[in-house]
Point group: C2
Chain length 233, copies 2
Amino acid sequence: MQNLQPNMDEFLPLRDVVFNTLRQAILTGDLKPGERLMEIHLADKLGVSRTPIREAIHKLELEGLVTIIPRRGAEVAQITEKSMRDVLEVRRALDAFCVELACDRITEEGLIALKKACDTFELSVQTKDVKKIAQADVALHDIIAQATNNQRLIQLINNLSEQMYRYRFEYIKDSSQHETLVNEHRIIYQSIVHKDKTTGAEAAKTHIDNQEKAIIRQIRLDRAKNGMAPSQC
Amino acid sequence: MQNLQPNMDEFLPLRDVVFNTLRQAILTGDLKPGERLMEIHLADKLGVSRTPIREAIHKLELEGLVTIIPRRGAEVAQITEKSMRDVLEVRRALDAFCVELACDRITEEGLIALKKACDTFELSVQTKDVKKIAQADVALHDIIAQATNNQRLIQLINNLSEQMYRYRFEYIKDSSQHETLVNEHRIIYQSIVHKDKTTGAEAAKTHIDNQEKAIIRQIRLDRAKNGMAPSQC
DNA sequence: CTCTTGTATTTTGTATACAGATATTAGATT
DNA sequence: AATCTAATATCTGTATACAAAATACAAGAG
């Protein structure tokens, strides 16, 4: 962990500012799995008192990004292969369900937005800009989720996706997969246009399967690396 | 709200004691939707300071049982028909998925436990004891969830179920549905025994559909009642 | 009589203090 | 030299104090 300056952009309660700051730090890997989150330390670093830090940490625990051990403190949640498989398994089911619902419920404007998001994604792939690609991918899936008009579903999928963000960059960096990604998005888009639930759901599952392969590979790599050099300060 | 005495049984952090106490109060309807949760008030009532109350309330918000309005405070989450439909829609999908996974993964012991839970449920139905029936129902569904061996899925289903507990009692009271419930459970059990995913998933969906009907009816009833008498102190 | 404005009260947001639990380290003993 | 114990330091859990914001109420102006 290095420079984590709070994002004072908006006028939010401090606990939310801290929450966003820590969340970002965890997702970008600035705070690494297993790293301890000590309240006074963070409080000093962010220039606030312990109270908002505590509240942010508890919120992060509920999101699954942090593990709290009673009377010992919090640490960045370890990602095990099993836990990631669990997340991906649920996400596969929900994403497929999402596409099915979208087939039924997407509006005219939704379809237009989805088309645009597909095109944007294809363009962003050509730029090879990892950050841009990730952003376009999130935007696309967000439109599909919104199309379900089910707030709870949207929230759950967001939360599950979050768990994968820590590996997303590694996954997207592998440009050999870019063509596959574009194709899968096209199939999903076409399925929704033609209201073909079966094909759409199948494509959504394949989409997750491919990500799973890349993410699991990365986790094993990370673990091998950390196994050799267990010190990580 | 009336008598909410904290459950000092176990030696837990106060925030968890408070959390459980408030959660119970909300699920049983002791704290009604829209009722404000004021920190000092609750702190006095439970004989603790504001800190654990705050932490409990924030945890409840993440669980979806409480709504926090910044700089205004927390209140018991309103249940709208839409929000409940959203919850049930996701739960229908996940429960069906759950049964499918259980077909693949349930162990020998799991099957035995499931059989036992089915029998226990049938017996509890005969007693007409609403509380006992609800408990047996939860136990049965818990075994199916556990059979998936997917911690994340188990956690999500628990959380979604929780949203329905506030109406579960009303639903189970309607004894005309008891025979249906028993039958649906039997079908689900048989499907898992024979590893018949399609039938099992279908039965799980029907099971939720039936609950949905009862719950939505109840919500409309409640709303009509509250519409006529908007005061609720 | 109604609307607006100002003040008082209530309530949250944040900081800090203190106690108890846990981890750590140093010292003593075998 | 290794291990056990005791003392110390560190950190969380909880309580409380203070400030700022929001709300409610009352008084005055239109």
